[in-house]
Amino acid sequence: MLKNLLKKKLIGAFALTTITALSLGVTAPVSQAAGTTVRLYISADTNIQDLWVKTLIPAFTKDFPQYDVDVTFDRNGANDAQTLAKITAAVATKRDPGMDLIDGGISTTLGGAGLLFPLSYTSLIPNLKNVPKVLIANGKGAIPYRASTVLMAYNSKNVKNPPKTLNEVLTWIKANPGKFTYNAPSGGGSGASFVVTVLDSQLTAAETLKLQTVADKETQAKWAKGWEILRSLNKYTYGQNGTYPTNNAGTLDLLSKGLVDLAPVWSDQIASALKAGTMPKDIKVYSITNPSLTGGPAFLSIPATAKNRSAARALVNWVLTPAAQSLIVAGNMNGLPVIPVSKLDTEVAANISSIDITTLRPGYYSTNGNDMKAAWANEVPGKL
């Protein structure tokens, strides 16, 4: 009895501090324009921050001056676990989580946990009608708004015939010691994609599908062969001592300095770097096959109890318009659209007409992905 009382008090105190902290954080903007400020939480790399802050938000507020957008940025989702906890706690206690729209990998996790505003009311976001049904289904309540994929980048000065399939890539790595690298999966998606692709190459299609859709420890045990292959690369990757760059930027850095000749990179990051001139023009990208590297849509999400969710829906609906999708493709982001290419500006569409986003090979379900990152650190680096 006493124990329960104490417990309740503790929870009360805990909730009180949280609420105080939250209200301290949001009082100012809300009091100015109640309900029309979209509190956007970005849990991604800096190119996504730039996409919102420099391209999308200015265009949105120009079209809809009655709204404004307040951005919180969490680089590479370093605080995803806490953010998830915050939203879960807020939705469970029917309180405002302090954010109205989330852009990041946690969107689908939130969707899977049933914490998002249900998408059954598509009438509230009419532009969803242009988005392929399969992408919406994958989101489980999260809203696909752009796509990107991991490509293989090579230095055309040193490599005349880049390896076309995964097996050729593995042979190439061993034939060219020190000239290939990928970043640690825990630090960025491009390295994670390479690891997942090698692991998948040793699994059946059914097993891969399971890992993409549900938490599954049994199938994870079949990663053993893939780890064997990745371990065998330790002597041949950059540094030749079983160390790997910490994040996506680390891979791009080695590629731009000419220290490696082949590496998996995000389609959008490499395109932006090439455009900005921070990547030499000799670096070219292509897709490998059998299996291909992973890719897929990025999702936005609106927590069920977000206070300004109608404003968030207005922003989402705008992001899905052909005009906004063209900005995602053409701007510095160089992303892929989630609406049919035919709806985009013809000039913009010409560059990407060959890519079908509904057929991109998806990565793992988030808990399997976390397990993959943990297992990689256990199985691969430093094991010579």
Binding site: L10, F14, A81, A184, G242, L254, A374, G382
Partner: protein
């Protein structure tokens, strides 16, 4: 008689004044104590409970979201999470790296700081002052900046590698190794150790050094039998603080160290974030905490020793 009365009156006044002062002192000390109890003490207790498998109440949400959570199996909890961490094949390597880096760097830092302090005390002069002032520069450079600078300096296209390449030698790439971590933590820890030890050396009386010289003692003899023993407490304090700081470092090993094995500070962050295993990271934090507490005992012992020597207890 009157004199006696006066004395007692003054004494009782003094007693009252001390009592009032100590009460005031107590209240002045309250805010930091309260802050520590509510914002650090309580979370530590919650974390300890979480590591033992208490996953209800305030720990409910983190347990709901984390993976591989071990709930308690008896009234006092369970050690399953501790077992899981200790049996993790990464853990021995991480612990070894953490301890090796801590011991090696602390030893090097203290040797360097001693050298600097002794040089300044015995030889002194303008150059010594300039050197000490220069050695404090790292205090004013944010660790992230210096970690990044060190990385660009030692990496595959770094300065050293380039210079050696031009004279036809292959200098090893130091980044992504524990060597680079040692270099980095020495950079960040040196200023404090130098400040602490050189101030300790400054308080060694000239008379003692001079009389030893007159009696024919050599340089090493003076250092070993007069200066180091007299500055012993500041040296122990510098050692403990340096070791505890290095043991818990994150930025330097994150930027300069290998992916695996890495220092526990980085591993805790990996387990908490990317691997989503909050219970494991809490367990590791407690393991580091107990190691740091072991070092802190040394610090307390040194303080008690100095109190004994000066007759305070």
């Amino acid at each position: 008689m009157t004199l006696f009365k006066e004395v007692t009156a003054v004494e009782s006044l003094a007693v009252k004044k001390t009592a009032r002062l100590s009460l005031l002192g107590f209240f002045m000390a309250m805010p930091p104590v309260l802050v520590i109890i509510s914002f650090i003490g309580a979370p530590i207790l919650l974390a300890l409970a979480f590591s033992l498998g208490f996953i209800t109440g305030p720990n409910r949400i983190v347990a709901l979201i984390g993976q591989e959570i071990y709930p308690k199996t008896s009234w006092w909890g369970t050690l399953d999470a501790f077992k899981s961490v200790i049996n993790d094949s990464r853990f021995p390597g991480d612990l070894k790296t953490t301890l090796t880096v801590t011991i090696v760097s602390t030893t090097l830092v203290i040797i360097m700081a001693l050298g600097m302090a002794i040089y300044q005390r015995i030889i002194g002069g303008r150059i010594a002052s300039i050197l000490v002032a220069l050695s404090l520069v790292p205090l004013f450079v944010p660790v992230v900046i210096s970690a990044f600078a060190l990385r660009t300096f030692y990496d595959g296209t770094g300065f050293l590698k380039t210079v050696f390449y031009h004279i036809g030698l292959n200098f090893p790439t130091l980044t992504m190794t524990s060597n680079a971590v040692v270099i980095g933590v020495i950079w960040t820890s040196l200023p404090f150790a130098i400040l602490m030890i050189s101030s300790g050396m400054q308080s060694v009386p000239d008379a003692l050094i001079e009389s030893a010289q007159d009696a024919g003692a050599g340089f090493l003899r003076i250092v070993a039998t007069i200066m180091i023993p007299l500055a012993f407490v500041p040296i122990v304090i510098a050692t403990t603080f340096t070791a505890i700081g290095i043991m818990g470092s994150f930025t330097i090993p994150y930027f300069l160290g290998a992916n695996q094995p890495t220092m526990l500070g980085v591993e805790i962050s990996n387990f908490f974030g990317p691997y989503n295993r909050p219970q494991h990271s809490v367990v590791m934090a407690f393991i580091i905490f107990s190691a740091a507490a072991g070092i802190a005992i040394l610090y307390i012992w040194a303080n008690i020793r100095s109190a004994h020597q000066s007759g305070r207890i």
